[in-house]
């Protein structure tokens, strides 16, 4: 393994950070204090972290409705994200975006998005910016198997190929779009197979294994930075919770979810491998876990006490000038 201990613990911390974010929100949502729709990323953390490990603040991502993980991985402050979910003034978007619209342009995040598939042309546009400005930065569109059937994605893929843009179409295939299975919704044998029809290279990887994601993305990002045009990645991953918080998930079997948590949990897999290879200890991982548990307790307590947006904020920031 080429990663240093420091890197390994850092990537684990980022994945664990996302997990704790989502588990905290899952727990706190039951108190009724978090308004709106929530779509949790638990089980998919290796993807956001394995991809963003290769990106800088000058590279862009476009996320989706299940976006908390992507935002944390790209470097947004989780404390301010929790504030945002509680609708508070200090939230990352001043409490005016909420879960589905967390963006952080200073970190190269074009935002989570409530419109399925919309990130694909937006990320393609950010890639166009890099090309026009003559930079070697790239952009990544995170989207799911559900979005893979949106016309947005097809049009963006074609544009990216013909204009040779440095954009990575990263499909997190968790097997179910809302409540409909991928085997029903996708006509092709695999989503990645579609890329060839657009003239785009593609890889299919294990999105529950951080190292599979990290290694694949090292090559894919280098391909795009070198000006070779777009790339398609399909990562097979798992979704531990429902489409949205409160989803009774009658379309899934309990055994399927239990099995995924037991055998396909990217955090457990990461820990076992790293401990097995003697690169870090259980105590070191546990210490990261307990630090994050404490941190999130603090974020939630603080958010619950934080100030609401000023009434005037209602009509502010619609335009820059008007």
């Amino acid at each position: 393994m080429s990663l240093t201990k420091e890197q390994l613990l850092d990537y684990y911390r980022k994945m664990r950070n996302i997990r704790e974010f989502e588990e905290t929100i899952h727990r706190e949502n039951t108190t009724g204090e978090i308004p709106g729709f929530l779509h949790l990323y638990c089980g998919e953390e290796a993807n956001a972290v394995g991809v963003c490990a290769h990106l800088s603040d000058d590279d862009y991502i476009a996320s989706n409705h299940r976006g908390h993980g992507h935002c944390v991985a790209k470097g947004s402050d989780p404390r301010l994200m929790v504030m945002e979910l509680y609708g508070r003034a200090e939230g990352l978007c001043g409490g005016k975006g909420g879960s589905m619209h967390i963006a952080d342009l200073d970190r190269g995040s074009l935002g989570a998005n409530g419109i399925v598939g919309a990130g694909a042309p937006l990320a393609t546009g950010a890639a166009l910016t890099q090309k026009v400005k003559g930079r070697d930065n790239v952009s990544v569109c995170f989207f799911g198997d559900g979005a893979s059937n949106e016309g947005y994605v097809f049009e963006a893929m074609n544009l990216a190929v013909i204009l040779k843009l440095p954009v990575i179409f990263y499909c997190e295939n968790n097997g179910v779009g809302e409540g409909t299975g991928v085997d029903y919704a996708v006509g092709a044998d695999s989503i990645a197979d579609r890329a060839a029809a657009f003239g785009m290279p593609a890889k299919k990887i294990d999105g529950t294994d951080f190292f599979s994601v990290y290694d694949a993305m090292e090559e894919v990002v280098a391909h795009c930075r070198a000006g070779n045009g777009p790339y398609f990645v399909e990562a097979e991953t798992v979704r531990f919770y429902g489409h949205f918080e409160g989803d009774p998930q009658k379309y899934r079997l309990k055994e399927e979810i239990d099995n995924a948590k037991l055998h396909r949990d990217c955090l457990k897999k990461f820990r076992s491998r790293v401990i097995e290879e003697g690169l870090a200890t259980t105590e070191e991982f546990d210490s990261i876990d307990s630090d994050l548990v404490a941190a999130y307790k603090g974020y939630v307590a603080e958010a619950k006490q934080a100030a609401w947006p000023r009434p005037e904020a209602l009509t502010e920031d619609v335009y820059i000038t008007y």
């Binding site: 619209h101 546009g125 166009l128 920031d317």
Partner: protein, 356 residues
């Protein structure tokens, strides 16, 4: 100073802004044309030839021909705008907004607000509006009322060449997303041509232009309708009826003050609007005046709009669909002389045939 058409004015504005700022790019279908063909590059230069020659000066990296893929390229333009460029995206016909509306409606217009005031999305969408070319129901509409209803989006509807150049330069330099609506009957209309300086200048948004001034009636009109209203006003002036003809130039932001002040003087309002018979621009202006200047009104507000139908193909039907100068004049007679609609129109037509 040379007299120029709107077509020339718009081309000049784009070229000047692209020279001034390397971040300005043009994206759309056949904005050059000929890519991937064996014949000439820049064969179209935009379907109306407005962007002709730009690809030679600025190259294919900045003059970007796209596939027929409105949702994709509009989204790409929005993403480029949010990440540091100032794209001009050409939506050939405004009727096609249905193909890419999400990128404007749910994305570009909302970024700044949703993201807590941190996003900057300097996108300009240039698009053709207007009936009169027998282009029928899917290539003739003027949906600026829809664009106007969208918070976060600005909407421009120029009526003459001077304004078109200054407003387009303002749109490109503006940090908010703007939809710039070009009436297809105005590109080469001599009435819309005007003295246009060769150098760059801006016309500010939200400042109406008083095209005619008069004491008796306020007529608010946009785009091609400005010329119908001005023509009617000139005829009515001969009969001693004076009209304020106001061209708001931008529907969002809107110069409410100019309209309200004028109605306070005249006490009468007519709105000439090609957008829609229901929930249109005319209805918005009528509601503004009815709610804020009701006490000044001496007569009911009159709206001159198309009927509530799609735009028909056949010329006589299409001509009947488009608001006419005669309908504007008749509306003025209704509100100034208290004539009923039929008598007012008969009077206008009689005057017209007498003049002929």
């Amino acid at each position: 100073m040379a007299e120029k058409s709107i077509r020339t004015a718009i081309g000049e504005a784009m070229r000047a802004e692209m020279r001034r700022d390397n971040n300005v790019i043009l994206i759309g279908e056949d904005v050059a044309g000929g890519q991937g063909c064996e014949g000439e590059l820049d064969a179209y230069g935009g379907v109306l030839g407005i962007s002709k020659g730009l690809i030679q000066e600025f190259g294919a990296d900045r003059i970007i021909d796209t596939p027929i893929s409105e949702m994709g390229y509009m989204g790409m333009a929005v993403g480029a705008a949010a990440s540091g460029l100032r794209p001009i995206a050409e939506l050939m016909f405004s009727d096609f907004y249905g193909c890419c509306w999400d990128m404007l409606y749910n994305q570009a217009a909302k970024f700044r607000y949703m993201f807590g005031g941190k996003a900057v999305t300097p996108l300009t969408v240039r698009t053709m509006i207007g009936a009169g070319a027998s282009a029928s129901a899917q290539h003739s509409q003027s949906p600026y009322h829809v664009f106007t209803s969208l918070p976060g989006m600005k909407c421009v509807v120029p009526s003459n060449a001077y304004d078109a150049k200054g407003l387009l330069i303002q749109a490109i330099q503006d940090d908010d997303p703007v939809i710039f609506c070009e009436h297809k009957a105005l590109y080469d209309l001599p009435l819309a041509a005007s003295e246009v300086p060769d150098e760059s200048y801006t016309v500010p948004f939200g400042e109406a232009n008083f095209v005619r001034e008069g004491e008796d009636v306020t007529i608010v009109a946009l785009g091609l309708m400005v010329h119908l209203a001005a023509g009617a006003a000139d005829e009515l002036a001969k009969q001693g009826i004076g009209c304020d003809v106001i061209d708001p130039r931008t529907t969002s932001p809107l110069d409410e003050e100019a309209i309200l002040e004028s109605v306070q003087n005249t006490g009468r309002l007519i709105v000439v609007d090609e957008s829609s018979a229901r929930c249109g621009f005319a209805h918005d202006i009528a509601a503004l005046v009815a709610s804020q200047a009701f006490d000044c009104l001496k007569a009911p507000i009159k709206l001159v709009t198309p009927p509530h139908t799609p735009v028909p193909f056949s010329s006589p039907l299409e001509q009947a669909w488009i608001p006419s100068g005669e309908r504007v004049a008749a509306a003025v007679l209704e509100v100034t002389m208290g004539l009923d609609a039929k008598t007012a129109m008969d009077t206008v037509m009689a005057a017209k045939s007498a003049a002929a």
